[in-house]
Symmetry: D3
C-alpha cells in the first residue's frame, strides 16, 4: 500500500481516446462574392459541399487512481465524447446541423478543436482536459491546448 502510493503519488500521466466521425462542410464567407470565396477557399468553397472522415483525439491528464490505475475510465471518456461531440457531428453537415458550431464561424479544423474543447472542458472532473486534436485528412490536423 505504501508501494502503491510511491508508484503513483504526484505523478501525472496523460490518457488519449480516439473517436471518429464523418461529416460534410464547406468554407464560405457570406459577405464575400463567389469569386472571392473561390479565390480564398479554392475547392473547399464548393456550394454543394464536400466532406471528410474526421479523427478526433481527446487527451486528459491526472494522477492514476491507486486502485483502478485509471487517470480516467477510457470507456467513460469515450461515452462522454460520443454523447457531447460525435453523436452531433457524425453524418452531419458542420455548417448547418450542429448546435455548438456558430453559423457565422468557418468549420475549419482550427475552429473545431476550440469548439470541441469548450464543450468538453466543463464536463471533465477529477482529471483535466489537456488537448483536442482533430485530423481532417491524413495530411492536415489541428490541436488546441486551452491556450487563451
Amino acid at each position: 500500500m505504501g508501494y502503491l502510493k510511491k508508484v503513483n503519488y504526484n505523478m501525472t500521466a496523460y490518457l488519449t481516446r480516439r473517436e471518429q466521425f464523418n461529416a460534410a462542410h464547406k468554407l464560405w464567407v457570406k459577405d464575400w462574392t463567389d469569386e472571392k470565396n473561390k479565390e480564398v477557399f479554392g475547392k473547399c468553397a464548393n456550394k454543394n459541399w464536400h466532406g471528410h472522415n474526421y479523427t478526433l483525439f481527446v487527451t486528459v491528464k491526472g494522477q492514476p487512481h491507486p486502485q483502478t490505475g485509471f487517470v480516467m475510465d477510457a470507456k467513460k471518456l469515450s461515452q462522454l465524447i460520443q454523447k457531447e461531440i460525435t453523436s452531433k457531428l457524425d453524418h452531419a453537415n458542420l455548417n448547418l446541423d450542429v448546435d455548438f458550431i456558430p453559423k457565422d464561424l468557418q468549420p475549419t479544423t482550427e475552429n473545431l478543436v476550440i469548439l470541441i474543447w469548450k464543450q468538453l472542458e466543463p464536463l471533465i472532473s477529477d482529471c483535466q482536459l489537456h488537448s483536442i486534436k482533430l485530423h481532417e485528412t491524413d495530411n492536415i490536423y489541428a490541436e488546441f491546448f486551452g491556450e487563451f
Copy 2:
C-alpha cells in the same frame, strides 16, 4: 538480353496506384418517404449531406516492359486517374456534381467502383485494368474486378 527475356517473358505482374479524394454524398431514394429512407439508410440519409475521405486503389496487370520494367508508368496511371476520376470527385458532391454518376443511382461504394471501372477501362491500353478498390472509411471498402 536473353536473360531479360527469360526474366520477363510471359510473366504477369500487377501494379496498383493509390489516389485520394474528399467528397460529400447522401443515400436517398426519391420515390420513398422520409421515414423509409431513414429506416433503410439511417444516418446516411441526412438531407444536409455528410462526407468521407475516399481512398481509391486502381490495379492494372500485364508483363513488365523489358527496358523500363514497367507494367505501366505509375506516374501516367496517376495522371489518368486524376484527370478522369479524382479531379471530378474531389471536393465534389457525389449526388449532384459528377458527370459519370447517374442522378438516380445511389453513390454507394459498390456502385462507385463499377462506375469508376467503366470510366477507366476503355482508356487503358498496353496493359489491362484488373480491379478498382475504394475505401469509404477504415471500416468499409468495395471492389470490382470487371465481373459481368
Copy 3:
C-alpha cells in the same frame, strides 16, 4: 430505370467490413511435453497466455441492389459479425472462452479464419460470403476463401 438495370445487371461487386477484437491465447498441444511445446511454439507457448488486437475483414460479393446500391447493408453486416463473432471473441480467451472454437484446436490465425467462415457462411443470404481475413499483428495475417 433501364439505365439502372444496365449499370448493375449481372455485375458482381465485393463489399468488405472491418471489425476488431482484443483477445488472449496460447499455442499448446496437450499431448506434448513442455519442452516440445516451447520448441515448436516458442514464446507463443507461454503458460500464462499472451494476447493480440485482432483485426477482422469480412468480404461478401453480389450484385448491388438497383435501389439501395448495396451488395449488403454494411451496417447489418457489421451487426451480424458483432453478434456472431466479435461479441464472443472480444476480451476473451480464445483457448477457453469461445463456444465455436474446439478445445483441442490451436487458435492460430489460420484456424480462426476457417472457424469464423463456418459461423458466418450459413447466415449470409441474398449475397455470398467471399473471404475472411484476420490480422493477428501488423506482420501476420491469414485468409480463407472457402476452399475445401
Copy 4:
C-alpha cells in the same frame, strides 16, 4: 568545423524509437467482489485474461553529436528498450510475469508508462529521457513525461 558547431550548438532535438510487444492482462482488484470488478472494469475483468498488441514510443532529447548527428544511436536505444522492456513484456502476462510490474498494481496503460519510465530513465546517459507513450489499441494510448 565552426559551421558544424553553429548548426548544432545548444540545439535540442528529440528522437523517438518505436517498439512493439504482444501481451495478456486483466484489470482486477483482489479486495473487490466479482460484481464490483465487473462493474468497474467491464470486459477487462474477464478472469481468463485478454490481450493486446502494444506499441511503445520512447523519446529522448539532447543535442545532436557534431560528428555522428545522433542525439542517441537509434539502434542502441532500440537494443536498450528490447533488453530492459520488450523482452520482458512480449508474449508475457502483465499481471503475472514481469519483474518490474508490482503484483498489486493494475497494468493499465497509464501505470505501464510510469513503470517503463522508471526502468529506462536511470539507464539513459549523454541525453535525457523525454517521454514514454504506449498504445494499447488504435483508440487508447497513455503518455508520461516524468512529471512528479
Copy 5:
C-alpha cells in the same frame, strides 16, 4: 480427433508475413541518353540515387496442420525471407549490391516481385508460395502470383 480432421481436412488457408527493408535505387537505361532517361523516368533517373522504405508481403497457402494449426510456421517464414531476401536488400543499393537482381534489369517494383518470387518459390515446401506483394510507397505497390 475425428473433429480435427473435419475442421482442417482439405481446407486451404492463406498465411501472409510482412517484412521491411530500406534501399536505394534509380531507374536508368544505359543505352539511352540522359535526356531520354529523364523523359521516361523523371525524378527516378536522378544519377545520385534516391530510396524507399519497402514493405514486403509474402503469402503462402496450404492446409493448416492438424496439431500445430500452422499452414507454415510464421517465424520460420520470417527467417527464410530475412535470410534470402531482406538481409540482401536492406540498406542496399538495388542496382549495384544484390546478387539476384540482374544488372541490366530496372529495379522497379514489378520486376522486384518477380525476382523475389524466383528466390523464394523453390525454398518453400509442405505448402505453396501464393503471392509476393511489394509496397514502394504508400501510393504504389506491385504483386506477382506466379503467372507465366
Copy 6:
C-alpha cells in the same frame, strides 16, 4: 461579430501539414576509417547508399483568423513546404544534392529537422513555426521545437 471575437480572441491553435519525400543517404564521417564508419553506423554506412520514404510534419501556431478560420492557409503552407523543402529533397541524395544540407554534416533525422526549421522559420509570418517532425521509418522519427 462580438461572438466571433469571443470565440477566437487570444486563443492559440496549432495546425499541422504532412508532406512526403523519398531520398537516398548514407551516414559516413570522412575522417574515419571504413572500419570505424561500419562500427558506428552499421548498415547505414553502406558506400552505395540506401534510402527512405520520409514523412514530414510541419506545425504552425497562432490565432484562427476571424473570417477564414485559418491559423494559416493549409494549402499555402503545403506550397511553401514543397517549394522550399520537398522539391529539393524528393528523389534526391541527401549527402550530395541539397543546397541547404552542409556536406560535412550527417543527414540524420535529428540534423534534418533542425535544417528544415532553419529554412522555413524565416518564411512564416502572421503565425509562428512551432515544430518540425520527420519520420525516417515507422520506427524512427525526430522533432525540433526551435530550442537553442
